[in-house]
Symmetry: C2
Subunit: 457 residues, 2 copies
């Protein structure tokens, strides 16, 4: 038996890696499959998406973000090795090279899961290594920032990048009482939205007291005695006691590429629907892979915990001898900044045009509950449809409490290629505390369909 | 021109009737279509679903429930006649007979819309005409109840019927500070849920201080000087200063049936997907019709404002020379009682068995937000699937704030005949303030799919 014991190595012990390991173990006991998992940091299986809320104070300790501890995985007979960085993959010898402190060693595998996550984009400008400049990708990053905020009590924060992380960190800084400047090189926040919908987000940010600087390009950092004092931009210098980098991430695929495993134009590792890479017995999952976008029909890289979990699970089931797939994405995302909610799915107008669609869009105003019901709050919904067929291509929502999660019904409609006209018939739930008699989703579908019909000869 | 002027008569001026009238008018000006609309009451186009919230005090005046006033419709050249009851339809003479006070007259039509709504079920027991026994179907009912509550300050309410209206009225009475007893002849509240999910609702009601009496059959009312003093049941007498009847409604189709228009076994007027009845030029919409259930493939009667609006709109567009359909329903509904939310879509287990499906179901516990996020509240989701194919047949949710509206994503999945396995791949929105990394909908799909897979040989 021992001679035939298969060896699974997992690189990266966050959502994707540990989902894969757990699922493989559920199907194959330790007598059948040996599992070794390497993590370069000290934390495993935590919610990176929760870091802004840890920093804001919504979550009281870093431990709260940990879904499962190393001990829990070890109880499953998963040989979890913390502080161990995999620095090379050799396909010919079917082994990985591991660095642990001073020591370097090779670990053989039969099956390999690459779950190396994302690499945060770091600005290539002078002074970026000054004290007080923080990324917020890993739990270590979050803990470091939290200590900095508690120990140094900075007053002025500059957040670089107005995407999801940038907005969430701007909220965290506001709620901690700091003055916040948010800069972005683009002329809108949230490039994942159309400019008009992003304009609503910009207004919301300004209403919250954020000094939002758009079309503002970072050129460097000033520091005093090694500590950051200002952010330099092409539109002037902004003084800062703390800087947060929210420039997004790229797939961390270098290790795979170096081993000769196929990496796509998106920068993500190429996988099939079962999460198999181009190399036999090598799987990949999470932020390091590229996914199939069901609307653009193109590969894309999207760093999102929910995808990482699903992909890791699929990989693990397949390694365990089952059958599971990750069918692709429609590009759904949601975020909030204080009481403002933002959501999107599918393609933006620009993305749809880029994918070759002729598009039509309409923006609709409604309320989250019946207009007469207490707590009815504004919701703006934009639908993007193919002009000739009326097929839904994308949707965006900006609103207040109760607005954003409506994106899910739109995401499922999009998944099935519904036209906006067909969507007007959908049987969505109605009662005054939950929706107007025409749910905002239905009103948006109806208005878009009506406007589209008027364009037809 | 005047000789050829077409005459549209609308019977009933609530959601369905006035949607039809407005849509017909949008497409055909007064020079082309004369519209006369009859309403036996004094209020038009109001939200009947809002009445419990008017009574509870969430909505400050009855006017707030009115979507559009008679004056607004008259400005659209709709000849709206209040206090006018249509008492007969003659298809041979193409006219309706109208009673207005002492006067009775005939009004001719070319096209007719029947939007007579529902008839509240009234218990056929002695004493039901006592003062203090209130229905809550019409705005007049709601205003009358509100006056009663304000003038007489009753202390003990008995609500008869533990369906949607009964629950909403129980909440209203609790929030007004009354002692509330809720009785139902069935052994569970909310017959639209499976017994186990209804059990969660029963627990919630009892936690709220409602004296819930199940399997308790109404036998009559006691009164003193014409005023109700108690509710008599087969399980004893319950003293009451006010009684609210929440026994549901039946389609108000007698007028149509008397005219020889086809009425189905559900009691609702039979219509096609364009809302045409069996009689040429006669349309029907709203609570008085039966609808096609897309999952059971059977006609059913469902009284719901959102369907009435859609059907009325479709009828009006078709009368106006356009093309619009009401494709049917999947049986989605949502309600709340204080902080507890309840939602369902599709078929219950009993309904699915009744429709001939072999079923499998699973119940899943989760939270509305990431478990570590403040305000993460419990949500219980039950999915009912076809045993052999895994196709979703129905879903039920009981939970707290943020739980119920998740039914919409399930309703759209159901609409498209997805299997629970396919649903595990859905790209639903994720961020810690909005969902755990696996949304409760996805967890429910995953657990149901996993359990179903284990049953297979």
């Amino acid at each position: 038996m021992t001679a035939s014991l298969e060896r699974l190595v997992v690189i990266g012990c966050d959502a994707a890696g540990m989902s894969a390991a757990s699922q493989a173990r559920r199907r194959r006991p330790a007598a059948d499959l040996r599992i070794v998992a390497f993590e370069k940091g000290q934390h495993v299986s935590y919610s990176a998406c929760g870091i802004p809320y840890l920093v804001a104070g919504d979550v009281s300790t870093p431990d709260d973000l940990v879904a499962r501890t190393p001990e829990e995985f070890r109880k499953l007979d998963i040989d979890l090795r913390l502080g161990c960085e995999v620095v090379g993959i050799s396909l010919p010898s079917r082994s990985v090279t591991v660095r642990s402190g001073e020591r370097t060693y090779d670990e053989p595998f039969d099956q390999l899961v690459i779950a190396t996550g994302g690499v945060p984009a770091r600005p290539d400008v002078p002074g970026a290594d000054a004290d007080g400049i923080h990324g917020v990708q890993t739990l270590e990053d979050g803990i470091r920032l939290l200590s900095f905020l508690e120990d140094r009590a900075p007053k002025r924060a500059v957040v670089v990048g107005a995407g999801y992380i940038g907005l969430e960190m701007a909220e965290a800084m506001i709620r901690r009482g700091l003055e916040v400047t948010l800069i972005d090189a683009a002329d809108q926040p949230m490039r994942t939205l159309d400019p008009d919908m992003a304009g609503l987000v910009a207004n919301a940010l300004r209403d919250l007291g954020v000094d939002l600087r758009l079309s503002c390009r970072l050129s460097g950092f000033s520091s005093d005695a090694g500590r950051v004092t200002a952010v330099r931009t092409d539109a002037g210098t902004l003084s800062a006691d703390v800087v947060i980098l929210g420039l997004g991430t790229k797939p961390n695929s270098a290790l795979a590429a170096d081993a000769g495993i196929a990496v796509g134009a998106s920068g993500g590792i190429v996988v099939d629907r079962r999460q198999r890479t181009s190399a036999e017995g090598v799987w990949a999952a999470g932020d390091c892979v590229e996914v199939h976008h069901l609307i653009s029909q193109r590969p894309t890289a999207i760093a999102l915990g929910t995808h990482a979990n699903k992909q890791g699970r699929a990989a693990g089931i397949n390694i365990g001898g089952g059958y599971a797939t990750f069918p692709g994405v429609v590009g759904t995302a949601v975020s909030k900044i204080c009481s403002h909610e933002v959501a999107r799915t599918g393609l933006t107008t620009a993305e749809a045009l880029g994918a070759g669609f002729e598009v039509f869009s309409a923006v609709t105003e409604s309320t989250t509950r019946a207009g007469y019901f207490p707590g009815a709050l504004p919701i703006t919904t934009k639908l993007i449809a193919e002009r000739t067929t009326g097929r839904l291509l994308g949707a965006q929502i900006v609103g207040q409490e109760g607005a954003a999660k409506r994106i899910d019904a739109l995401a499922v409609a999009l998944w099935h290629g519904m036209t906006v006209e067909e969507m007007t018939g959908l049987d969505l739930s109605y009662a005054p505390p939950f929706a107007p008699v025409w749910d905002p989703v239905l009103i948006a579908a109806r208005k878009t369909a009506e406007q589209l019909a008027r364009l037809r000869p």
